[in-house]
Amino acid sequence: MSYKVFSTAIIHELLDDEVIVANLDTGVYYSIRGSGVTIWQLLLAGHDLTSIAALFKEKYQSDLFASLQSFINQILKEELLTPTLSSNHFIPNLVWLEEFQTPTLEKYEEMKNLLMLDPIHEVDEQGWPSKSL
């Protein structure tokens, strides 16, 4: 199974040895580090867990399936990526670390409270929305 970015509200950028990901809908942002950067690149290039595990085994001569699976599950849980039926994949310009480093996904929620708005239900006499009681 391949993956794609969950929605247009998810924006991401590779900055040297780190990927920053922001969810513009929730105001939460993330920092991906370690070998997570390579995994993120491969996921966006259409690779699934099995394919990524094979590439990592070839690179590091070690079975890293469990670590990769755990990291990918975190990404899916945070709804940064979502499964897609597309089977197209390619090898992008990858950031390979000399040695495998545990992939990490750090979460920053500084703005979350500001963005948790109540839904609008009615308008008042001046035409402004009023929240439900």
Binding site: D16, E18, A22, G27, P119, Q126, G127
Partner: protein, 335 residues
Amino acid sequence: MILTGREQFERLDHKWTYFCHTTTSSYQIGPFVLSLIFASPSLKEKITPAFNHLKLNQNPTADLTVYLWDTTEQKLPTLDWHSINRNGYHGHYEDSIYFHYFDDINALSVLNAKKNKAHYIVRNVQKLPWWVSGSPLQVILHAWLREKGLQLTHTAAVANEQGAVLLTGKGGSGKSTATLSCLTEGLYYLSEDYCILAPGKSPQVFSLYQSAKWTSHTRKLFPHYDQFIANPDTANKEKALIYYQDIFPLQIKTSAPIRAIVSLKIEDTHLPVLEKQDLPSSLKSLIMSTLIQLPFSHCRTISLLKDVTAQIPCYQLTLGKDLKENTRRIQEILL
């Protein structure tokens, strides 16, 4: 009621025709002329001081026109609030029209990017909080400037005659105090919180607001400037609003080439430490604080910031308690 973005903008345009006594003020925002047309003097008093350093004496043809009104005078037309508020604070975009409703202060910003026209509507100008005067029309200007290839950015900026240094960092990292310290040592002001960055062979920073929001900590360091506080009723409980033109009228610049990016951090040391920093770390600081602070953030925001910063040296300055030494490190970068 389901209304298209264009229909809603036309309704606002139509409502505006009911206002008879309007006044216009024009400002030079980077390379563009901004015209603000006010339906009431009280809204003008709230909005314009932050732009005073950019005021034009005449009203030339505008690149962007913003109509500003208050619904105590004319109520809003019927709007599709479900679509307007669909994305909450991050705003709604449809058919080249940007909608942003800020429910905490009852302010609606609507920009028609194709027509270069916008409406800024508040429920009651008398109830607007003090901080609106510090960075007015931020949402409209952010969306419109990005359409024009410029990026409104959350960073302070100071300059000498040759160029500017961007002072980046999230809230509490020392931007306000460092900016003020630089001004007291003779440098020029461009920004304390938000400025406009323009990519190009020689990336430029343009001033937008001449305002500052000082914490009690900054005020304690510079108590003689308390006489300039613009919000005396709320300054002790919240931050103090200051207009730099009141204090340093001859030290305000409207644009400068960017010479360096300096990420600030505070540590409990006496003397500051200036170190080279890699571009990704500096860029991350700039991108994150801008993305998180401003609605309508977009991949284009990141690419614009990357273009601006690509060739610029980056530093990290750990601020010490000696304010003059902090400024000296910044001056050294500009030499």
